[in-house]
């Protein structure tokens, strides 16, 4: 009796805890849920004529222009209120999986990283955008590569908020201190990675005599993330996936991909010119003068100006004698399939990507625009000849001539997660060949489930 009783107690205990845990998987990760100021008067419910739409998006975007966009939109559309729900980078993707995977009606506007448009479309998270958009001339409004990134099976699924490009930032003070000539702004005098390493070795040093380097020669911004890392292998002519986007073995671990990964590994483990930090910390390292050279997005100028770093700008490096490849692509917005207010959502997307909102967003976020009107304005306005706005001169050139988009695959989320994991391990000292061979097998297994989608 006693035995069976204790067994019963044990099973109930296990069931309780195990079930408690499975259900916590379905719970929302802690959110930085912030309603944009001015979008919702506290204690006052929107009246019956007002529709409130919710946009799930990235942390801090309220401060980087999105609140201004919303203010402008609400002025034009008094019947619609926009609420933001914001998450950090990695949590944004997980929340979308949890919420849209369970067909939640909570979100109307979904922020989507360009390469994930096909993934979300395949999984049925977003509705085709075209029938909902009121602007009929969007095709002439955005650059071709951004339209392509937002299209799945010939249908526009998501509209581009912007595209992106990367430049080489350098700290003038650190260069001057070591007496090294900094890289040139001139596109034709672009530095090679070999030049970067030469300089970085001299620019990595100890300032307080404790035997530990505290100034580092070089850092990427998006450390370990496919967005920036793929430009290395692309420069060497490697493709990360097969043409169908469903095979990784022989591509992500090809000889040339491995060469790129070795270079990345050497930065941290052989030459030790890069600090072993995370993508979240890298910008602060440059802003506080701990990194001499920094390959990062155009959006950093605001931050660096604020931090009063004495910095200069140069074009993205490349491997000597090889192709020039730069990262590109960026955030899109789509309408959730489960939204009950699709028209209001599309109206906001229209304002943000085609309408006046796109310019407000550019002024706040400093990303490279996808909107042709703004690109033309940059081209014509003399203001963009001056530092630091001339960063867009480089960025526009790269977007037109050297940009290589990330691979097209319905399994991009799986590809990127495993790729990032491998590059994190490589940074921490794992043999690049082992890391890439391991993920190639895992990627193949994860991508197999999308074979039914390939025609």
């Amino acid at each position: 009796m006693k035995k069976s009783l204790s067994a019963l107690v044990a099973s109930i205990l296990v069931l309780t805890l195990a079930a408690g845990c499975t259900s916590s998987n379905n719970a929302t990760p802690a959110s930085t849920d912030t309603a944009a100021p001015g979008t919702e008067a506290p204690g006052k419910k929107p009246d019956s004529g007002t529709a409130e739409i919710t946009m799930i998006t990235l942390s801090d975007w309220d401060k980087h222009g999105l609140n201004d966009v919303i203010a402008g939109f609400e002025k034009q559309n008094p019947g619609i209120k926009v609420k933001l729900e914001m998450y950090p980078f990695r949590q944004l993707f997980e929340t979308i999986e949890v919420k849209l995977g369970s067909k939640s009606k909570e979100y109307d506007v979904v922020t989507i990283d360009g390469p994930l448009v096909s993934n979300y479309s395949a999984k049925g998270y977003v509705d085709p955008l075209e029938p909902l958009l009121s602007s009929r001339d969007w095709q002439s409004k955005w650059i071709e590569s951004s339209i392509q990134a937002g299209t799945y099976n010939g249908k526009l699924m998501a509209a581009p908020m912007n595209t992106s490009s990367q430049v080489l930032y350098y700290n003038k003070d650190i260069f001057a201190k070591k007496g090294i000539a900094p890289p040139s702004f001139d596109i034709d005098k672009r530095w090679t990675w070999e030049q970067i390493i030469d300089a970085a070795k001299q620019l990595t040093y100890d300032t307080n005599g404790d035997g530990q380097n505290d100034i580092f020669g070089f850092s990427f911004e998006q450390i370990g993330r496919a967005y920036q890392m793929l430009a290395l292998s692309e420069s060497l002519g490697a493709k990360p996936l097969s043409g169908s986007g469903l095979t990784a073995t022989g591509f992500v671990n090809s000889e040339k991909s491995l060469q790129a990964a070795k270079f990345y590994s050497d930065l941290y483990n052989t030459w030790k010119v890069s600090p072993k930090i995370t993508a979240e910390e890298s910008g602060d390292f440059f802003a506080t003068g701990k990194v001499a050279m920094f390959v990062g997005g155009t959006w950093n100028t605001g931050k660096f100006n604020e931090a009063k770093v004495n910095y200069g700008i140069a074009p993205h490096p490349f491997f000597a004698g090889q192709k020039i490849a730069t990262p590109t692509g960026s955030w899109h917005v789509g309408v959730s399939k489960y939204s009950a207010k699709k028209e209001a959502a599309a109206k906001f997307i229209d304002y943000l990507t085609v309408g006046e909102g796109s310019k407000i967003w550019f002024n706040g976020n400093h990303d490279l625009p996808s909107n042709n009107d703004i690109l033309k304005m940059i081209n014509d306005d003399k203001k963009y000849d001056q530092f630091p706005d001339n960063i867009y001169r480089i960025a526009t050139y790269e977007a037109q001539h050297t940009a290589v988009p990330r691979p097209v695959t319905p399994g991009f989320l799986e590809f990127e997660s495993l790729f990032n994991k491998a590059y994190d391990d490589i940074k921490n000292g794992t043999d690049p060949k082992k890391a890439l061979d391991d993920i190639a097998v895992q990627m193949d297994r994860q991508l197999k489930k999308y074979e039914s989608l390939a025609k």
Partner: protein, 285 residues
Amino acid sequence: MKARYVPYLFLAPAVVLLLIFKVYPIALGLKNSLYAPGFIAGLDAFVGFDNYTGLFADHVFWHSVYVTLFFNVFVNPIQIGLAFGLALLLNARLKGIQAFRSVSFIPIAVSLPIACILWNIMLNPEQGVMNSILIGLGFSPQPFLTSKDQAIWIIILIATWKGVGYWAVFLLAGLQEVPQVLYEAASIDGAGKWDRFRDVTFPLMKRPLTFVTVADTVANFLLFAPMYILTKGGPENSTNVLMEESFNSAFVYSDPGRASAIVILLLILILLIIGLQFRLLRSKV
């Protein structure tokens, strides 16, 4: 005759709630583990035991099983041993012992995610205070969570820091239930400190110890937050416990079937281990 049904009537509300909130999700998990994502209008395909056979052929899964067992083989004895030691110390009749009790329970009051983030800042290899201390003392800086050899031990350390005070509360309550007369009687019979511990304290502590052992084991098998927050299962999958692999399967690799299969296998594994623990710790008192 009527009286026979009365106890069941009283049990019914609890049983119904257990069925709805505990048994049903498990049944749902079991069902999900037999399906694979279909991508067309949310129609999932029935695949039988493919998710399970897929797991058995997958070295990432077996590595996670290994990591989960490795973690538990160390963390449980360490936590229970330290918690028992702490409970014995806190049970001492000293002036101001209440203050010591409060201090040792502080980690319980810190939420695990916050504790993880604070530890992560302290253990940051480039900027963290731990490495500053090590360098100040003349040691070389350590990679901590970025090393595949150290990461799992750091998580054991954090889990222990957090868990010891909590489990000690239960053991302390058990210790205070041991009647003083037994100690007095044992002393009169000439039992020394060690004899009293072995023949009085330990046998009477078997019940609370069984509870703590079982509950702690379950909690640690299902521990997920530190791996999720600190290492994402890395470096080189060295902290990729089954819970982390299950989470990733569901919410990163879009494969809820595989995730459910992992959880079901984990459930079976825990039941087996707990059955064993009950057998070994069966109280004869």
